[in-house]
């Protein structure tokens, strides 16, 4: 158990409303990631963070922003949700410590978002 908590786990919202998903960790990992998972596409990286206030874009970052004001929390915001952002969102941590070059990603349980 990598100590990852995502909230909310389920959310239904309307087009045009802002949505924030939260990822909370308890183990002080440096790298945190937000992925979305859609049928036929697998997991696609939205944004990632390599430290407090240090973030970078992934392959599907349009329409999303992130913030990391403290090590344990990584927030994903949809400023104005669209139906194409209906998906399952996964937060992940990279294991092994800062100097490690291992491949583990530890995933949360997912946040299922429906945009009507």
């Amino acid at each position: 158990d990598a100590g990852i908590t995502q909230s909310p786990r389920h959310k239904v919202t309307e087009t045009g409303t802002p949505v924030t998903l939260r990822c909370h960790q308890t183990e002080n990992h440096r790298y945190m990631y937000w992925y979305r998972q859609d049928p036929g596409h697998g997991l696609r990286l939205i944004h990632y963070s390599y430290g407090v206030k240090d973030t970078d874009k992934g392959e599907v970052s349009d329409g999303y922003s992130v913030s990391r004001s403290k090590t344990e929390d990584f927030l994903l915001t949809l400023e104005s949700a669209t139906s194409s952002q209906t998906s399952v969102y996964f937060c992940a941590l990279r294991g092994g410590g800062e100097q490690a070059n291992t491949g583990e990603l530890f995933f949360g349980e997912g946040s299922r978002l429906t945009v009507l």
């Binding site: 992925y35 990286l45 291992t102 990603l105």
Partner: protein, 111 residues
């Protein structure tokens, strides 16, 4: 062309069968190769991890990487109904922070 390709299945096998799951990738810079298992409505969990080419065995599971052909395989021996899940392959290069995933293969092991 997607960076990692994987047959989505579904794949159905009888209990006890040997299962072979495969991925191909396009970027020769990828050095780290992973297999994740994902049960329905759960997050992916790391199953196997290998670096560069070769085989790695863990119980009933064997991961195989052939960098010359850019081919990744996962073999499951004596498959069990509890192995029914979606299996995702993933890769990463030495320096990048992005783990690139295949779309996953859904496996059903029938009792």
């Amino acid at each position: 062309q997607k960076e990692v390709e994987q047959d989505p299945g579904p794949l159905s096998v009888p209990e006890g069968a040997i299962v072979s799951l495969n991925c191909t990738y396009s970027n020769s810079a990828f050095q780290y190769f992973m297999w994740y298992r994902q049960y329905s409505r759960k997050g992916p969990e790391l199953l196997m991890y290998t670096y560069s080419s070769g085989n790695k065995e863990d119980g009933r599971f064997t991961a195989q990487v052939d960098k010359s052909s850019k081919y990744i395989s996962l073999f499951i021996r004596d498959s069990q109904p509890s192995d029914s899940a979606t299996y995702l392959c993933a890769t990463r290069d030495n320096y990048g922070q992005n783990f690139v995933f295949g779309p996953g293969t859904r496996l059903s092991v029938l009792p």
